[in-house]
Symmetry: C2
Subunit: 351 residues, 2 copies
Amino acid sequence: MPTIYDVAKIAGVSPKTVSRVLNDATPVAQTTRRAVEAAIEQLGYVPSYAARTMRSNRSGLVGLISGAISEVPSSPELSGLPEIYIFQGIQTLLRQAGKTLLIADTGGDAATIPQLIKTFAEHRVEGVFYVAPYHQPVTLPPRQGLANFVIANGFDAEGTPAVVPDDYAGQKALVARLIEVGHRRIAYLTLPRDVVATRERTAGYIDALKDAGLPVDPALLRPAEALGQSPEDGRRMLEYALSSVLALPDPPTVICAGTDRLAMQFYGILRSRGMRVPEDISITGYDDYRLISETLYPPLTTVELPYVRMGQAAAKILLDRLAGGAPAPAPPQRIGGAVRWRDSVVPPQRA
Amino acid sequence: MPTIYDVAKIAGVSPKTVSRVLNDATPVAQTTRRAVEAAIEQLGYVPSYAARTMRSNRSGLVGLISGAISEVPSSPELSGLPEIYIFQGIQTLLRQAGKTLLIADTGGDAATIPQLIKTFAEHRVEGVFYVAPYHQPVTLPPRQGLANFVIANGFDAEGTPAVVPDDYAGQKALVARLIEVGHRRIAYLTLPRDVVATRERTAGYIDALKDAGLPVDPALLRPAEALGQSPEDGRRMLEYALSSVLALPDPPTVICAGTDRLAMQFYGILRSRGMRVPEDISITGYDDYRLISETLYPPLTTVELPYVRMGQAAAKILLDRLAGGAPAPAPPQRIGGAVRWRDSVVPPQRA
DNA sequence: TTCGGCTATGACACCGTTGTCATGACTTCG
DNA sequence: CGAAGTCATGACAACGGTGTCATAGCCGAA
């Protein structure tokens, strides 16, 4: 591969001048610049980041770790949206800033993380992203001399900069909207009780009802899933939760599902019982996982899980720190997701 | 950050000896080795890949490009499985080989690729993966001096090493299995006519029928989707295809959908018409996209799209080349996917 | 005219490792 | 007992850039 010396020789200048041209550094005469650029073109010269890194100590690399970094065992049922959207958000901003993304996946085994971090350290990454598979508390392993960690889709106890979805506001906005179109009996069949998203969204659900002066009926609020259960148990729990609210003397006119996947299952169960969606009952989801929400018929009203924007926010935090900005520990940054209003919800029909 | 000199000074040896310890090179005395290892531990020393790269010209980095690298415009309806599984397969093997993965996403804009490749070149990657969003022909942009390209989920006209799913064998095995349990009237409602997967799977469908000595009825074989149509048109086409085969004088006992997503839509349509799955009609999918195939009730019989293994196969090709193995151009390597037999198929019921 | 200041450029060392080659101590064998 | 061979180690240069400092040419002001 050609080097800066080859370019210098052809252009008839010193290597240092070539370096200046490459870095847009002052001062270089117009004619010199053109000669150097021509030589670069002619040779197909590409500068070496490795050499640049040694002198300047800035590698242009940023690491990303995804997979089982959680305290909670990996639950496929919870990681609805592929984390790849978070990657995309991160990468978009990094590329604009001239950084390149190194990725490593734990493959579900948290024990591999120290090794991954060591590899990143060997490549002298300027920062590291941790991407959790769903909104959760995490514990970062030892930093091994690296700085500038940012957590996406999670948070830790040490106040590491973090970005999370605003689950509270999302569910609250959705329920407020349901109330607005006339619903009064709103069931909420949630994800497992112990996850962050359930706690926050439930609070949003309750506050939306209170804000509208509606009563909160505990019979309308129940988990439709538990952590670590078998598929059969899951199915049974789901049907039981649904049956319970439908059997109430004053049944709901709309069912909010904890996730688009649950909503999809409700479609199936309701239809095999002869109920029509949305004529007989309205349904909402959460995530806006478009493979489901746009494919279902009728298309699903849901709340966006703003993964791309979360990734961008995480990248912005890191880039600001690299630029020498304030560390900004603060509480996790919360990213709101829009309500996606589709045809699975209609105003309640008179009985 | 501590360097090899700091380690050498503390251990009382020369830098070169430290280097030998780091690389497990002969010959180093046991006592010396221990002293050096102790010094490394004490300082928290981490070797610099950048410096190593300069001397040895091996960066330990491999690039991966995903996104719109296709000739075909990106169709969300076709990229059933998230490419992330291909990444995982690739990364598993690379990590074992001590390589680190650099990733870049085009963000849907193929015009960005030359820039991405240039960035990879600056980091002196040892190879580059192209990952297509679904099985398709691709055209690689200029290589800009880089070698060792491998295509995953696609193939090009130049014979670049490539890995693709064996769509022919997958559909053939599925249909053979259906015949085995007694089905004779087997409908196939496919993905858009022009995509590779449809051509190959249709051939598999036909050959399975022929092998069993069954007639091929063109009325049972039709596309359920077209490229680039609106959601409403899509829905209409889908319903029309389904209605057509059901209205036949001798209707099918099982419907093979072009993808799990289509199968999911068929569940919905059939149920809103009062038909039961699988009692009244069996259904199969393709992809084994578990968020759908395991969540549907009854769980969906489908064919695995072996993305993880495809990624591993692609990585193996690259690693073999890096190790100096034969270039192995050959036709694309075909990776077979297993039939996943679940409850959406039962033997045909007597009319 | 002379001198300070600015512009464009180059010489040189250095970043952190490793390949090449040399060297000294110790074995082994005739 | 000396020559040849092995083992453990170190000196030195080189990889491809960039930071620091020096320098030559040119300008305008005193």
